[in-house]
Amino acid sequence: MSGFVLRRLLLFLPQLLAIAIVGFALLRLLPVDPVSRIVGSFGTDEARQSAKETIGLDRSFGEQLGSFLEGLLTLDFGESFVSGDSVRAELGDRIPVTLQLIGIGFVLALVIAIPLGRYIASKVGGRIEKVTTVYALFAGAQPDFWWGLIFLFVFFFKLGWFPAPLGQLDPTQIAPDGPTRFIFIDTLVHGQFDLFVSALKHYALPIITLTFVLTGPILKIMRQSALDVISSDYLLYAKASGFTPKRVRRMTARNSFAPVVTITGVLLVFALGGAVLIETVFALPGLGRYALSRTLDTDFPAIQGAIVFMAAFGLTVYLVMDILYALLDPRVRHSRD
């Protein structure tokens, strides 16, 4: 087991470095011109030249890469071409928003889908099972941004249950400054319960939207893997051995979780980027919207910073997923393709 974890860990840094370098190179290979973004298409040659020097694009590719990698060591991604601010500080503001959104969304989806999937697996052929299975298939194949709009129309415009989609708080409210930039934590730290509740209301619809689409695939996988275990020989034999129902339940749970771990990891990585759609609908200042707007502005340092963070996040998720999977299913520890 420890050998497996070690091998997996050794892969982590080279992979991260590879993504960072490829991303860096890609930006400079693609036919885009950040300079004209800054000085406009009709800027003079001098203006262009001085802009180039300001943002460091006058240096050779090697030099640029060198200072990029040097910065990586201290997590310093440089200053934004657009705002001139530290990219690290900007990311520090945006990342918590996205993490709160998908974090809570995933916890809810898992809490709903796992027990429900387990339950319908024991009721195969019944009406509840059929309806739930169709629901799972449906929810897993839906445009989340559109459902966000529909929920807004119904729950904000028609019913008025939730606030207007204008960010984490009402425009008149000011978020506390630190320490974590996670609004649900910071408001509690500062004892601002009214802001906490307000944030909760602002996050509710985006989270519901996300949870709705996520329950689909998780439910589907959980149903299938629980079904596989329930109809397995070892479960039947466990019963024939006189094991207690508690032990049989533990056996079912343990053996049916591995595929759920995999699908959750895959969805989580996708959701980090995919959250841009929901963030756009609800005007949440998250990482996805940051990456999108800075891409439209050809802001290289910001894009590079976002790429490095997302890659690190994705690789970490896959690492944790592989280790969890190996803990649940001893077979992969020994032979893994």
Binding site: L137, P143, L149, G273
Partner: protein, 295 residues
């Protein structure tokens, strides 16, 4: 008594099943109402991709003065802020959305399966390196990758197709590879070898067709996913650009006004996406169950 003296007869209960895919799909159609619905949706979507733009009752990309009208007998789904007829555009959009999905899926299925076959059947360091690259790509949030590449290369239909195809290659590659890794150990592969077949013939004639089923079942699901990605990219302005009739862009054009009650601009294209992707998912799921059953 020798075997040929008796009239050869089959044993009772043995079934002579015809070779081929069609017979099994027919069986699926007969037994699953959900699959029938899914297939109808898929067929309609594909037909609209061909004829959609030609049956439009109003010009698709010409602004008119009938702006922001609700559904009426003239404009069944209403009009948007440019005065476009939403009904016509909803029917014309599959030309973009379904075509992109079809092209991207076909490319990724072909390339992914081929790479999966080669890396799985002829194992070696080259195959291993391909797998490490695939691992790394898959660990990156793909939607952001799509945004960056499409925006930077120019927001054209062609670029959207290429990016979505690239995103999905790893999925098909892995499916084919894992099939091949088990198929190459199967006895019928060695039997072909012992008949004197060449390796390349075995790889393409015996292994490839048998390994294709999961990928083919996945293809409709990937197409649905590709429609979602296409629409999502346009929705945030990083994909197909207006006024081209495209579902995601149409939803985006109504996104600001739906919160003040003007719902039809976004709702109808959204229903179209919702049903279409669901239809593809159902068909894919049915096909997958079919190949799992046959073992």
């Amino acid at each position: 008594m020798s075997a040929t003296d008796t009239q050869p007869e089959l044993e009772f209960e043995e079934v002579l099943r015809p070779a081929g895919f069609g017979a099994r799909v027919k069986e699926l159609l007969r037994t699953s109402w959900l699959f029938r619905i899914g297939l109808v949706i898929v067929v309609i979507a594909v037909i609209l991709a061909i004829i959609g733009p030609y049956i439009a009752r109003f010009p698709l990309e010409t602004a008119t003065l009938d702006t922001n009208e609700g559904p009426s007998s003239k404009h069944w789904f209403g009009t948007d802020s440019n005065g476009f007829d939403i009904f016509s555009r909803v029917l014309a959009a599959p030309r973009i959305d379904v075509s992109i999905a079809l092209a991207a899926t076909a490319i990724s299925l072909a390339i992914g399966s081929l790479l999966g076959l080669l890396t799985g059947y002829f194992r070696g360091w080259a195959g291993e390196s391909v797998m490490r690259v695939v691992d790394t790509i898959q660990a990156f949030p793909l939607f952001v990758l799509a945004i960056i590449v499409v925006v930077m290369t120019g927001r054209s239909i062609q670029n959207v197709i290429i990016v979505i195809a690239l995103l999905n290659i790893p999925i098909f590659l892995r499916m084919m590879r894992s099939q091949v890794l088990s198929l190459r150990e199967r006895t019928f592969v060695e039997a072909a070898r012992s008949s004197g077949s060449r390796e390349l013939n075995i790889a393409f004639g015996h292994v490839l067709p048998n390994g294709l089923s999961p990928g083919l079942a996945q293809a409709p699901i990937t197409m649905g996913f590709a429609i979602l990605v296409t629409a999502g990219l346009s929705f945030i302005g990083a994909g197909v650009q207006p006024p081209t009739p495209e579902w995601g862009a149409m939803i985006a054009s109504g996104a600001d006004t739906i919160v003040i009650g003007e719902w039809w601009t976004s709702v109808f294209p959204g229903i179209a996406i919702s049903l279409t992707v669901f239809g593809f998912a159902v068909v894919g799921e049915g096909l997958r169950a079919m190949y799992l059953r046959q073992g």
